[in-house]
Symmetry: C2
Subunit: 452 residues, 2 copies
């Protein structure tokens, strides 16, 4: 055996380390890990949480009650002034949570057992635990929370609306929330909406807020809303949790009709993963401390409805932009369908197709997968009447790739962060637009290991 | 500067390499890359491609025609003896391929234009290009292929059944296939079925084959089948491409009825990604060179149907076991539904849920997501009547986690490669079983970059 040249050995080893590091980096990048679970979604609106207006008659508090998470707020409380009109829309899941059932019963009640709108109202929401599929104990937890909030805020229990979001099937440690209600009642703040938006987050990477102002002869009507949700998002409802506050004067019945109509055009048109939550809830509270919307066919009412729609659509889009693992925001527009229902069927088939969504993640202008999704949707479609566009680029028409189609131009387009896929079925006047995101390694990372 | 101790330095560097290697392994495994795109699916049947029996009256040839792939066979040809009965089942996609439309027209024709079963028949399949959404050129390519195969094999063109699988929307270079037909006709081999199974693969990681033998008083009936498919798999049809050959004597009409019935219980009960191909085709060819199945209510016919079902189910399961990126094979059994349709709705909602499928990939006994999927299915369900089992482990019943439920036992169970999720809805006698796989980084890897 010759004498070892340790210097040469060390040099060789250093070289080996360099190669190993490069290989690891390359492999990780091809494994998609570079895109995985960013601190904040790359699609988050610039500038962070918006500056939302104070809505007269609404106050917020939030605390870290340790429902599941440590070191973060996880409960939000909103007190609504006497006279507030409350409307809602909820998941249609057959296994919806105790809180959803409770809210639906309260909003459906013509004559609330304990006090009407004149008694004020409250919204109490926790993250970390969905209190869904928790048997009779689930309803008991909701009852306990409503009673405690009613007592702490001096509002009727029949006007306390709760929601819980997080893991399904685990008992909700509601006593941790009850124990903090006194403290929350003592720290209510009309400007506390940003804290409320943060407290209801689960896998969200950013807090979601939106606002609008409607000019009326009697001064401005203000609207401010918050939302949470980034997975288990699909019609109906696509919401997860949405709370919108306005100082408008409007009666509960017309507000409810407006909310139902607008939900169908906004939150029921977004999909992240085709999965529907057991807890999705949307509540709109109108405190009546600002101007009246007046005659529902009049200009102020129509302007109010348009502004409310804008806030709802903005929040819905933010939920998609925070889709688990999302790197692309995609608008799917379907026109020319035999009817609107067919158009929606096609739009959702495209927006929910794992193959379309992975192609988008790979920035691949794979329009053949769009053809596949149209075909499987069940809607009436004829190959030779169909046309497909990526952005303004005509990709296919007359049953064939468009004569001027340039794969290079389409590939270039797919590199954008915001994409539009348009399909015209050439059959009738049915139309529908839905919004979705891509399907990436980030989604798998988040969901293959959410509970642990 | 002191003198460098190169020996110590080398030792330290060696240690560093060891650590780096461990870290790389860990990081890669958490990034899922260890699971990504394996050479062969971990769920592939042990022992490789099975030894399939020769079916009298069927011969195979396969070549590398360079349709899209280099260095592999991509075209298979089967010649079926005169008198062969042919039955089929096909995708219901509204954008189905030219080859599918052509096969359907030929099988529906009561009196084929050119020759009936007595003229023999042929099956010609290429991988690499689906010839779907290729306009009039698509049908012209099919016509050219059928004419060329008819001429090369001296069978009627009206009895040539083609299929194409691969990328959608690209023109099929059918002349490359036509150019090799003479050579293929000259190398037909009754034992060539394994080569045929390999030639029709696309993203498949293993060739799929299954067989059965049915004892009759007149000797054995033999059945041998091949299949391809690993993505874009969902009812109806879930098949991608399936070719089954038997020497049984059976008329086309009863064979067609049997195939339709069995397809519904087998290939229409599997799903990988909820996406349905434009090209899915199943053909069963009975050459009549073996025993007759006889009276359809008699024992031989019933035994034949059971054996054919077994081959179809085996092939269907192999398609799921080769699901793109799959690491788990999952049977979803739904019982106690109001009717069979509701049961199927629930089973497919579970089997297609991205959240259920990622939880399985993460070996997480997240039964809350099963509750969610039941809820969103649209089927009648009552929370308090529902029960859920993972394998034999009772997870939830009476609207609540089962009293004896052990998370540790369930987590242990989830580590298995073959899993069963059972849901009893407690409402009626409706039942349905479907098969699926998990959703992993491997699926994203394969599909975010399939075309390039």
């Amino acid at each position: 055996m010759g004498k070892t040249d340790w210097k040469a050995e060390a040099k060789a080893l250093k070289k080996k380390i360099g190669k190993l590091k490069t290989r690891t980096k390359k492999t990780l990048s091809s494994a998609g890990s570079a895109k995985s679970a960013p601190a904040v979604s790359p699609l988050a609106p610039a500038g962070g949480f918006p500056d939302l207006p104070v809505i007269a008659g609404v106050e917020f508090a939030s605390v870290a009650a340790g429902v599941r998470y440590a070191d973060r707020t996880d409960v939000m409380l909103a007190r609504l002034a006497p006279g507030t009109a409350v409307a809602g829309a909820f998941t249609r899941s057959a296994t919806r949570s105790a809180a959803v059932l409770d809210c639906q019963a309260k909003l459906a009640a013509k004559a609330p057992k304990e006090g009407g709108a004149e008694g004020g109202a409250a919204i109490l929401v926790n993250s970390g635990n969905a209190n869904a599929f928790t048997g009779r104990a689930g309803q008991e937890a909701v009852d306990a929370l409503c009673a405690a909030a009613a007592s702490a805020l001096a509002v009727p229990a029949g006007r306390v609306f709760t929601a819980s979001t997080g893991v399904i099937g685990e008992p909700l440690p509601h006593e941790r929330i009850v124990a903090r209600l006194g403290e929350m009642a003592g720290t209510l703040d009309p400007a506390g909406i940003a804290g409320a938006a943060r407290a209801i987050m689960t896998t969200d990477t950013f807090a979601k807020g939106a606002s609008a102002e409607v000019a009326t002869p009697d001064g401005p009507i203000r609207i401010a809303g918050i939302a949470k949700g980034s997975g288990m998002i699909a019609p109906d409802m696509a919401t997860m949790l949405v709370y919108i506050f306005t100082d408008a004067q409007i009666a509960p019945a017309p507000l409810q009709k407006m909310v139902a109509r607008l939900t169908d055009e906004t939150f029921n048109c977004i999909t992240v993963d085709s999965d529907t939550s057991t807890s999705d809830s949307l509540i709109v509270a109108a405190t009546g401390r600002g101007p009246a919307v007046g005659d529902l066919r009049g200009r102020p009412a129509r302007a109010f409805e348009a502004a409310l729609r804008g806030v709802m659509l903005d929040l819905a889009h933010q939920v998609v932009r925070d889709g688990e693992g999302a790197t692309k925001f995609v608008e799917v527009r379907v026109t020319g369908a035999a009817d609107d229902a067919d158009a929606r069927r096609v739009a959702l088939a495209i927006a929910n197709s794992p193959l379309v969504k992975t192609a988008i993640a790979g920035e691949d202008a794979n329009w053949g997968r769009v053809v596949m999704a149209v075909g499987k949707s069940g809607a009436r479609a004829e190959r030779d009447l169909l046309s497909i566009r990526f952005g303004d680029i005509l990709v296919a028409e007359q049953g064939w790739r468009a004569p001027d189609y340039s794969e290079a131009a389409a590939s270039d387009y797919m590199k954008r962060q915001d994409l539009a896929i348009s399909v015209d079925l050439g059959l009738g006047k049915g139309a529908s637009t839905v919004w979705t995101c891509d399907l990436t390694h980030g989604y798998i990372d988040i969901n293959a290991d959410y509970r642990s």
